[in-house]
């Protein structure tokens, strides 16, 4: 499989009160189309990754909303897969190209979250959970707190190890001008911040963010550039309690195995990765489930600085969801952009040396949907 990432476009992530969802989607889309040097009229289809706008602003039917604003009449789709909406949109766009239906596809992930009160956003996000979980008074921080407690109990993972994820990702974000929180923090800052759901604190959690990310994908395989060589998605039970294990995401393991197989590479070949650190425990699970370290060793692995810029395999060089921000529909597309920039040697101060193979992992809910992509130059 070989799908070219022909162009990328990214807005600033943050509290962007002067911009609407459409402003953000169009800014990123135009950026990606310009970067691709492909004539706008050659775009065959648009895939829009978005989770929340129907619930918080009443705007559904987002495909044509974006297409018409770009002056295009091509096929257009809105893809929803909770926080994996962006990654799923990329995956489905790739299927459209592989099927021979489309040659050039625009994928734009977008979310406008800060227009709504926090309580409404929390309620809307819980649409990605089961009805039993909602009736139990759970939130996503609380669901990931249940996973955190299970991991601590089984493997002895510590709050300090969890905090190391946030500290690393804030350091990376301090080098990224698009990030929502481009500044460093300390372990103590994470440990002493307000508890959201024990043991998860505010600084263990990704924020509420506005932003958009877009890529133009192309069937062109005759030119130099960055290519997606593996793309896979798998599902798991929507209800966390129904899983055999609370300390792993089965869908991550399956999607990673399939994507690596498609690309013809091993996890040891990955030089840089963007993973779904919606809460600090999620990055530790990702390290284990993707195979960067054994089950239970994720806490020590993160503490070892292997995944910090300058380490053997830097993870979340964008700042991740924690510090770059998490506009949920955009996140999976932003991950593709970050790895593309790394493989093009254009990541500036956060450039990973000799990056030639990268991976993204985008999670919906508590691992009910996982999308993994492998990129190579």
């Amino acid at each position: 499989m070989k799908i070219k990432v022909a162009g990328v476009g990214l807005t600033k992530f943050g509290e962007l009160w002067d911009k609407s969802l459409l402003d953000l989607a169009i800014e990123a889309s135009i950026g990606a189309i310009k970067d691709s040097r492909i004539d706008k009229k050659a775009i065959d289809a648009i895939f829009v990754g978005n989770m929340l706008i129907g619930k918080i602003a009443g705007q559904d039917h987002l495909g044509p909303v974006v297409a018409s604003s770009l002056g295009l009449s091509c096929a257009s789709f809105r893809i929803e897969g909770a926080c994996a909406s962006g990654g799923l949109a990329v995956h489905l766009a790739i299927q459209g190209i592989l099927a021979g239906t489309y040659k050039n596809v625009l994928v734009v992930g977008v979310e406008k979250m800060t227009d709504a009160p926090t309580g409404q956003i929390t309620w809307a996000l819980m649409g990605a959970s089961s009805s039993k979980e909602r009736k139990a008074g759970l939130t996503f921080p609380a669901l990931y707190a249940l996973i955190t407690q299970a991991h601590m109990q089984k493997y002895g993972t510590t709050r300090k190890q969890l905090a190391a994820v946030s500290v690393k990702n804030h350091y990376h974000a301090s080098l990224n001008k698009s990030a929502q929180y481009p500044f460093e923090i300390t372990i103590e800052k994470v440990l002493n911040s307000n508890l959201i759901s024990y043991p998860i604190t505010l600084f263990d959690s990704s924020p509420i963010t506005d932003g958009a990310a877009a890529v133009v994908l192309s069937s062109d395989t005759n030119s130099k550039g960055v290519y997606i060589t593996g793309s896979a998605t798998f599902s798991d039970t929507i209800d966390l309690a129904e899983r055999d294990s609370l300390t792993e995401f089965k869908a991550t393991k399956l999607a990673c195995s399939e994507a690596l197989s498609q690309a013809g590479v091993e996890i040891q070949d990955i030089r840089v990765a963007e993973v779904h650190d919606c809460f600090t425990i999620a990055e530790i699970l990702a390290m284990e489930d993707l195979g960067f370290c054994p089950a239970g060793a994720g806490g020590k692995f993160v503490e070892s600085r292997t995944t910090r810029l300058g380490g053997k395999c830097p993870v979340n060089t964008s700042g991740g969801l924690k510090a770059c921000g998490h506009p949920v529909g955009a996140t999976g597309v932003k991950q593709i952009i970050e790895i593309t920039q790394q493989l093009k040697d254009s990541a500036g101060a956060r450039q990973v040396k000799n990056a030639n193979c990268g991976l993204t992992q985008n999670v919906g809910g508590t691992g009910a949907t996982v999308v993994v992509h492998v990129l190579q130059n």
């Binding site: 309580g119 409404q120 979980e133 609380a142």
Partner: protein, 99 residues
């Protein structure tokens, strides 16, 4: 909160989950609660494994942190779910208390 017909439908199945005994697998204390649960925060939620092997997320009632020790048994009970306005239907659901 849920519509009256949804509440009516859900109430018909409550007996299926009543009086079941089990143990806590993992728990959390929710400080920032979702809409409708704010008045109860902070509160405990756990995944309970019942004697028949099935697992379920449940809010814990009549429970203190000292009850969350290994091998502590819990039993399911009926309680009001969240808070509703005066003109809304009260929804009841399953929670768990220490045995």
């Amino acid at each position: 909160m849920s519509s009256p017909v949804t509440v009516w439908r859900n109430h018909k199945n409550l007996h299926l989950y009543l009086g079941k005994e089990g143990k806590v697998i993992t728990w959390t204390k929710v400080f920032v609660a979702p809409s409708g649960f704010e008045h109860e925060a902070p509160y405990f939620v756990a995944i309970i494994k019942f004697n028949d092997g099935k697992k379920m997320p449940l809010q814990l009632v009549d429970c203190e942190e000292k009850n969350l020790k290994p091998n502590q048994k819990f039993i399911t009970v009926v309680r009001k779910l969240g808070k509703v306005k005066l003109d809304e239907v009260i929804e009841y659901g399953i929670k768990a208390k220490p045995l």
